[in-house]
């Protein structure tokens, strides 16, 4: 079974990083995974996105008709990818920047004030890590342990302060995703 998620938002929100962390988490869990960014000049200044496909078998098609999950970190991303979430799928929206909703009763829509939560965890730039945590917490595609190992691996030991911040942001998101912090997550509509 292949499951796909797209992370989308402004460049600079750390979306590619979040996607890579998820991919590495999947690897840690012994899964197959495929990560592909939108690349090229539009990366700079404009919008950024990446797709992660996780599966038990080597990933086939790199293109996804409908996403099992989407993380929309700004309004254009919500507008673009909200409609492309598969029925029954998950949509995470960065409530710190976006007030709109996807108006899709058939999906699980989670609005999270990523900036505030990231700030609470120590660094309000780590918005995508919060969203990643929520995704992992909500869907259980990858274990939280694997994700932590992945973050440790990617961020590296040398930058321990950065690592601590990332782990904290991830934990906050995880809690939200698991429904342990209901107050900051707003369901759709």
């Amino acid at each position: 079974m292949e499951r796909s998620v797209i992370f989308a938002g402004f460049g600079g929100q750390g979306l590619l990083f979040a996607g890579q962390a998820l991919a590495r988490g999947a690897l840690e869990d012994g899964l197959e995974v495929f990560w592909i960014p939108s690349y090229g000049p539009e990366m700079r200044g404009g919008t950024a996105s990446c797709t992660v496909i996780v599966g038990d078998e080597p990933i086939g098609s790199p293109v996804v008709d409908r996403f099992d999950a989407a993380v929309a970190m700004n309004l254009p991303s919500l507008e673009k990818y909200g409609p492309r979430v598969a029925s029954g799928g998950l949509l995470i929206v960065n409530a710190s920047l976006v007030e709109e909703t996807a108006r899709r009763p058939d999906i699980d829509e989670l609005h999270i004030a990523c900036t505030e939560l990231a700030g609470e965890a120590g660094d309000d730039k780590l918005v995508s890590v919060v969203a990643l945590g929520a995704l992992v917490g909500r869907l259980d595609w990858v274990t939280a342990d694997a994700m932590e190992a992945a973050l440790r691996e990617i961020v590296g030991k040398k930058r321990s302060a950065a690592l601590a911040a990332d782990l904290a942001a991830f934990e906050v998101g995880l809690a939200v995703g698991r429904g342990e912090r209901l107050e900051v997550a707003a369901a759709s509509r």
Binding site: F10, G11, G45, G46, N74, L97
Partner: protein, 89 residues
């Protein structure tokens, strides 16, 4: 046409007047204008994220702006329109 030399100096604009207009949605928050402004009256508005995802620049004190257009000269995104300073009539 950057500067219209034929524009009449006679008709002063009616108040309230502003020395410059900021096309907020074109600003990319690079702060080049902030550094270039001799009067230090420009600053990013951290509370706002514009259409492009940036904190746009704001004129913090219109009264101190001299319409020198330094900001406009260094702005890569043609955010500013500058008007001649108000004449004390």
């Amino acid at each position: 046409m950057a500067i219209d030399p034929l524009a009449t100096r006679a008709r002063a604009p009616l108040p309230p007047w502003t020395p410059l207009v900021i096309a907020e949605d074109k600003c990319k928050g690079c702060e080049l204008c902030v550094a270039a402004c001799p009067k230090a009256v420009l600053a990013l508005d951290e509370g706002v994220v514009n259409r492009l995802g940036y904190h746009p620049v704001r004129l913090t004190d219109a009264s101190r702006c001299t319409s020198c257009a330094f900001c406009a000269r260094v702005c890569p995104d043609v955010v500013f329109t500058i008007y001649a300073p108000l004449r004390e009539v």
